[in-house]
């Protein structure tokens, strides 16, 4: 993974000093609330229901074991012994004291981490595919480009006060696991007809109140022009994006109001003026790719026979392999998902003890690296098949091996009313109830691939609008109600879910989800037809009729 140079380290160290000064001035009353708010947000500090929330950047989801241990010690020393992994591969602490945030940042800086631009109306953390570099369907590893983008975004002097937040995601594989079409800019590594690899560029996607699927603005962008093209889009957006209404300030609205053709023309006009001044030299790309060189895989890993024996003998291990591991491009290796969706813990949460243990497992079995996923789980990407059985046993003892990746209980869930001051309804509680209702893992496995996403308000942090089943908390005369959508997807077949019908009460929401799952089981052609495919084939009616049937 990328190792900081002296320059990288200096920048984050100086940022700690700067933020410490800003916070001290605020606490002394020298900075007004509204101004400090913008400054703290650009350093990932929200003020929430109980305490400030600190969001730490997880650059394109890649963490070293040393960094994971640091997260554990911060959770222990500054928080209540846990942290939360977010849908943008970041890490959140829910209970730090504001005056201690600068100390936390200093701790983070000691392991090459920071919280720069994890919130606020600026260029945010760049996200990517959790299987980058190891998946079989990859055109090229996206991480070197993510790091090039990360450096370009950090403290960009011109784009620090944008109309609204701005998110970039990069995917290097055929299957989009990074929800790139729901980002302000989505980049797909593609190969053109001459065998040259570059980027297909999408613009104007986003979730939140007005979910929009990104539109393709450039079918092929040469790698060396990546930054100049991004800069051209950002310059047009910074000048033209709406600043009169924060709900209309995202680039998706600008693209919609301007029209893609005209917007694209403006970007190209700007791009032509800067293209040759901002070329990424080929050597820089080569050097950056070297930072993400493949680890030292064992060439005889596939010769192990114990793995096949364990799979044959132990059905629980076999189920975990089937549901929680993914194919690896190197024979004899698999990528392992660590499920942060155990039935009795809030989705995406991880305790300090678990974090320390995960760091140890990463050192022992996976070249000392851990990845975060946008579905709020973790990945150990390089596990030899001979190690899978013992790793599974260890993860089980840590409650990190619930075999539910991509299944009904692998829900994306925001902090909701329990923590968030914006929330209108609880979400963790709904996830817990659904988990309790789906207490048979065989039933969960029978339901197959299904993504249930739950947000406590229409800001949509848990991406409910792209859930196969989306659940959105709304306020109805002071009570928590839930709006349900079906058929969303954040993958290549990107779609925004359709509304099931009128919202349902807190008491009804779990029974409604169970009914939807029953309808699916009745309607599917066979076990290979997943929920989304069935929904697309049969449409809304069978689901709607069952849920709103009057007896």
């Amino acid at each position: 993974m990328y190792q900081y140079t002296d320059k990288d380290q200096t920048i984050i160290d100086e940022r700690v000093t700067q933020f410490r000064d800003q916070t001290e001035r605020f606490l002394k009353g020298e900075i007004p609330e509204d101004k400090y708010r913008a400054l703290r947000l650009m350093n990932g500090v929200y003020v929430q229901t109980h305490a400030p929330l600190l969001r730490v950047a997880g650059p394109y989801g890649l963490l070293s074991s040393k960094q994971v241990r640091k997260l554990a010690s911060i959770a222990r020393d500054y928080d209540k012994g846990f942290c939360h992994f977010t849908t943008r591969q970041n890490i959140q602490f829910n209970w730090p004291a504001l005056e201690r945030v600068p100390d936390i940042l200093e701790e983070l800086a000691s392991v090459q981490m920071h919280a720069i631009q994890t919130s606020g109306n600026c260029l945010r953390n760049t996200t990517s595919d959790q299987l980058a570099g190891v998946c079989k369907d990859e055109i090229e590893d996206p991480r070197p480009y993510c790091e090039i983008i990360r450096q370009w975004t950090i403290l960009h002097p011109e784009f620090a006060y944008l109309p609204r937040k701005f998110k970039i995601a990069v995917s290097g594989a055929k299957l989009d696991r990074a929800a790139t079409q729901f980002h302000d800019i989505g980049l797909h590594l593609v190969e053109n007809e001459h065998g040259v690899v570059g980027f297909k560029v999408f613009v104007g996607g986003g979730l939140g109140r007005t979910p929009v699927i990104g539109q393709m603005i450039k079918p092929f962008l040469e790698k060396e022009h990546l930054l100049s093209y991004l800069e051209a889009i950002l310059r047009v957006y910074n000048l033209q994006g709406r600043r009169d209404n924060k709900y209309k300030a995202r680039i998706k609205i600008l693209v919609r109001e301007t029209g893609l053709a005209e917007f694209s023309k403006q970007v190209d006009t700007e791009w032509a003026l800067i293209k040759d001044k901002l070329v990424i030299p080929a050597e820089r790309i080569t050097e950056m790719c070297a930072q993400f060189a493949l680890p030292a895989y064992q060439s005889d890993a596939a010769q192990d026979t114990s793995y096949a024996e364990h799979v044959a003998k132990d059905s629980r291990f076999a189920a975990w392999i089937k549901h929680n591991t993914a194919e690896h491009k190197i024979d004899g290796y698999r990528a392992v998902y660590i499920s942060l969706k155990a039935p009795d813990s809030p989705p995406g949460d991880c305790t300090d003890v678990q974090l320390d243990a995960i760091a140890g497992l990463a050192d022992e079995y996976s070249f000392g690296m851990v990845r975060t996923t946008h579905r709020q789980n973790l990945v150990l990407a390089d596990i030899k098949q001979a190690d899978l059985f013992v790793l599974w046993q260890k993860l089980e003892s840590l409650k990190l091996a619930t075999p539910n990746i991509g299944k009904a209980t692998d829900m994306i869930c925001c902090p909701g009313l329990d923590y968030c001051s914006l929330a209108l309804a609880g979400s963790i509680g709904v996830a817990k109830e659904i988990n309790e209702a789906l207490d048979s893992i065989d039933y969960v496995h029978d339901l197959g691939e299904i993504k249930i996403n739950i947000s406590g308000c229409m800001n949509g942090c848990a991406h409910q609008s792209v859930g196969h089943i989306g659940i959105l908390g709304v306020d109805k005369k002071g009570e928590e109600w839930y709006q349900v959508t079906l058929g969303g997807s954040s993958e290549n077949d990107a779609a925004i879910g359709d509304r099931l019908g009128p919202s349902v009460s807190k008491e009804e929401i779990t029974p409604v989800v169970i009914k939807l799952l029953e309808v699916y089981l009745e309607q599917r052609l066979n076990e290979d037809e997943a929920f989304l495919a069935t929904y697309r084939r049969v449409g809304m009616n069978p689901f709607k009729e069952r849920v709103y049937a009057t007896n």
Binding site: K35, A38, L39, L155, E158, F159, A160, P163, L239
Partner: protein, 150 residues
């Protein structure tokens, strides 16, 4: 109002003249509205001329006129309006403006590092700001990732 120019606290010799008021100083800053209406007269007048751009200005519209101005003032209606950052950068690096680019209005000390980087050379301070601390903040970071004009 204190003024910082090229990292020094200096006496401000410029005055912004509201549209309805007569030009009475040697160093006058006028609005874009006034420039559009009275441009020819303003050029023939003695004394130095500056132009104030509001955040919704289109910099390209004044490129041909830049030779008439010794100063461009970028006015922040509110510190979150980041268009001035692009305006400064375009004026400096694309349109080659070599005069003073100053910022006024609701910007804050914590933005002067960025503003210096995009080509702003002078800063009209709010009364609350400590000038020496603002000057120090221009060097909050000793290294940077991106190319910029300064």
């Amino acid at each position: 109002m204190q003024l910082i120019k090229d990292k020094q606290v200096i006496q401000d010799s410029w005055t912004f003249i509201p549209d309805e008021a007569p030009l009475n100083a040697d160093f006058n800053i006028v609005s874009q509205t006034r420039w559009r209406q009275e441009g020819a007269d303003l050029i023939n007048r003695k004394g130095a001329l500056g132009l104030r751009l509001e955040s919704d200005a289109i910099v390209e519209e004044i490129v041909a006129d830049l030779k008439h101005f010794q100063l461009i003032e970028l006015h922040f209606p509110i510190f979150t309006d980041g268009r001035a950052f692009t305006h400064a950068r375009l004026l400096r690096s694309r349109f080659g403006f070599t005069g003073d680019i100053r910022v006024s209005g609701d910007f804050m000390r914590d933005q002067v590092f960025y503003l210096s980087r995009v080509g702003v050379s002078s800063f009209v301070l709010n009364d609350q700001e400590n000038a020496l601390e603002v000057i120090a903040a221009m060097d909050d970071f000793s290294v940077v990732y991106q190319e910029s004009v300064a």
